[in-house]
């Protein structure tokens, strides 16, 4: 009879490291190195010698914090940030409010057409942001829009959906349309994970479905709500493809409408990679600060709630 070997077979110790080689190499090449390089560039600038012509006339030198102070005092970047905050203040609450509402409705007893509606609301997740923006863009366009056509027929005013205040709503609508379904599914699956006995106990105590939803279901899915919030903030501050796609349809969207578009503009149109790098670092830091600030606030509130 062979006994199980006491000593672990050779290779068990080194195996996990071997398994992690591909991920590590890719991480170093496509995450760590670019981030480091962006940081490095953000402290550099070019110095032009003489007329700036010929080889060696342009040197890269240390710039200290100059790129950062430039970026922070750049009014276009600041305005972009404000536009994005306004946009995010519409997108995040509306999208997550709808996601939560639909998830709770799907979880309501005896509701009809559950499979169809769940699938239909989740469907926009499969549609690229560019194509979503393109489809909605045409629906906003005065010449083809059914909304404006109907408004005209009924005699209502026809607002320009691609200008001024309505433009924010139009852009927000694209994000809400695209993101609600995914967040709904996340919340819905965590609703399904709540043990049924809890609801039965509540119902025996005379709770209505609404009370169950408000007092039991929402608090119990709070962790997934917080997480969807967290990721929605990150995604919203990074908005790029939707306004870029709508741009050809309207003159009201500048090439620097969102901070990300400004980074792109500086890096590839103005060829100032140093300024672009500094702005990218600032955007990344602001995003992380905002999202983690939210997470911290949410956590401390849940803790307070627990200790009550």
């Amino acid at each position: 009879m062979t006994r199980a070997p006491r000593r672990r077979p050779y290779g068990v110790k080194s195996a996990p490291y071997a398994f992690l080689v591909p991920a590590t190499v890719l991480f170093l090449l496509f995450f760590a190195l670019p981030i480091g390089y962006a940081l490095y560039l953000s402290f550099r600038r070019t110095e032009v010698k003489g007329l700036g012509l010929g080889k060696g006339a342009r040197d890269e030198i240390w710039a200290g914090l100059a790129n950062y102070t430039d970026a922070l005092s750049d009014s276009e970047l600041l305005h972009g940030a404000l536009r994005i905050l306004g946009y995010g203040a519409i997108v995040v609450p509306v999208m997550l409010g709808l996601a939560l509402l639909f998830a709770l409705l799907l979880d309501t007893e005896q509701v009809r057409l559950r499979g169809f509606t769940r699938l239909a609301i989740f469907l926009p997740y499969a549609i690229p942001g560019v194509i979503a923006a393109l489809m909605w863009g045409f629906l906003y366009l005065p010449d083809v829009s059914p909304f404006l056509y109907l408004a005209d027929r009924v005699g209502l005013p026809q607002p320009d959906l691609l200008d001024g205040g309505p433009l924010y709503l139009s852009l927000a609508n694209i994000a809400v349309w695209g993101g609600t379904g995914f967040n709904m599914i996340v919340i819905y699956t965590s609703l399904r994970a709540i043990p049924v006995e809890i609801f039965e106990a509540a119902r025996l105590d005379g709770c209505s479905q609404l009370q169950i939803a408000l007092r039991i279901k929402i608090p119990m899915v709070a962790p997934s709500l917080i997480l969807t919030f967290f990721f929605s903030i990150i995604a919203t501050l990074q908005v790029f493809s939707e306004p870029t796609t709508l741009k050809p349809l309207t003159n009201s969207l500048s090439t620097t409408w969102s901070p990300l578009m400004k980074v792109y503009q500086d890096a590839f149109v103005n060829n100032d990679i140093y300024a672009a790098a500094a702005q990218a670092v600032i955007i990344a830091l602001a995003t992380l600060a905002l999202s983690f600030g939210f997470l911290k606030a949410a956590n401390s509130r849940t803790k307070q709630g627990d200790s009550r």
Binding site: P9, L26, I35, A38, F102, T117, A213
Partner: protein, 285 residues
């Protein structure tokens, strides 16, 4: 609005919740229905007839789109399929080995590796994409298929999901038994653990497939030659030209419809295979 019938108790047919859900479904289907109708219109019908009235030009539109610049549209579709398919496949493979290693082994630095990878999820794509471009430019690799493919292979979210799935689906004693039978670590992973992880890996694959197919920023930055464009970027450039020549609008609309059909079909076929529990499990822990 939904409150009343929610409150009337479970016995009655909850009309308002159903109606609210239907309304949500209609809202989500509206733009899709519109492209479906609009793609049947000829260029003149698009601007002259009521938007939800079908036109007569669908086959002409498809023919025009196919003829546009010697069929560059279908090239874009093929490119998208290539980027998303190959990218998601490689990504799933990397996620599988890494997630398995992080779930099954106890080793020094395990949590450090995991946390560093997770921090990658939070990195805004912009701080990655611009320097990725500049670095690839130094290696003379921009404007190539690889420049769009390589950066998407490592998906921190995929590794995260694979780890969660592996620790739930691969029991430690099964691995121990494999070792007693004298199997090497790689062999145990390939023949025992990998089959057990398949449902979770399908989810990782689908997430990555959709993420790469929908990606715009990376190809927008990396690519210059429109023969290598994915369909999102291709349609974008078409729309941009269309702002000067509205005749291109019908091509854009038809192109948008044809681009979402495979995705919707894929979505309908596979949505039953998604382990969405994994999603909530991932969210909860």
């Amino acid at each position: 609005m939904s409150t009343q019938s929610l409150a009337t108790g479970p016995r009655r047919f909850p009309l308002v919740p159903t109606a609210a859900l239907l309304f949500g479904a209609l809202y989500c289907l509206l733009p899709v229905a519109w492209v479906l109708v609009a793609s049947t219109k000829s260029g003149s019908e698009l601007f002259s007839t009521f938007t939800f009235l079908p036109g007569s030009g669908f086959t002409d539109n498809v023919a025009d789109l196919t003829a546009y610049r010697d069929g560059v549209y279908w090239k874009w579709m093929a490119n998208s399929a290539f980027y998303a398919g190959v990218g998601a496949l490689l990504s799933t493979a990397v996620s599988a080995v890494s997630g398995y290693a992080l779930a099954v082994y106890r080793f020094r630095g395990r949590e450090t590796v995991f946390n560093i990878l997770l921090a990658g999820v939070l990195m805004p794509p912009v701080i990655l994409a611009v320097p990725q471009y500049l670095l690839l430019a130094k290696a003379d690799m921009t404007d190539s298929y690889l420049s769009v493919l390589l950066p998407v292979i490592l998906s921190p979210y995929g590794v995260y999901l694979a780890r969660i799935y592996a620790s739930a689906a691969v029991p430690a004693d099964v691995i121990e038994a494999g070792r007693m039978d004298g199997g090497g670590e790689w062999r145990i992973f390939r023949t025992i653990a990998l089959p057990m992880m398949v449902p979770g890996l399908v989810t990782v694959f689908l997430f990555q497939f959709v993420a790469v197919w929908n990606n715009f920023l990376l190809p927008y930055i990396m690519l210059g030659d429109d023969e290598k464009f994915p369909v999102t970027l291709g349609l974008y450039t078409l729309l941009q030209q269309g702002s000067n020549t509205p005749a291109l609008y019908t091509l854009v609309i038809t192109g948008a419809l044809l681009a979402i059909i495979p995705l919707i079909a894929l979505f309908l076929v596979i949505q039953r295979f998604w382990s969405l529990d994994l999603l909530s499990g991932a969210v909860k822990s």
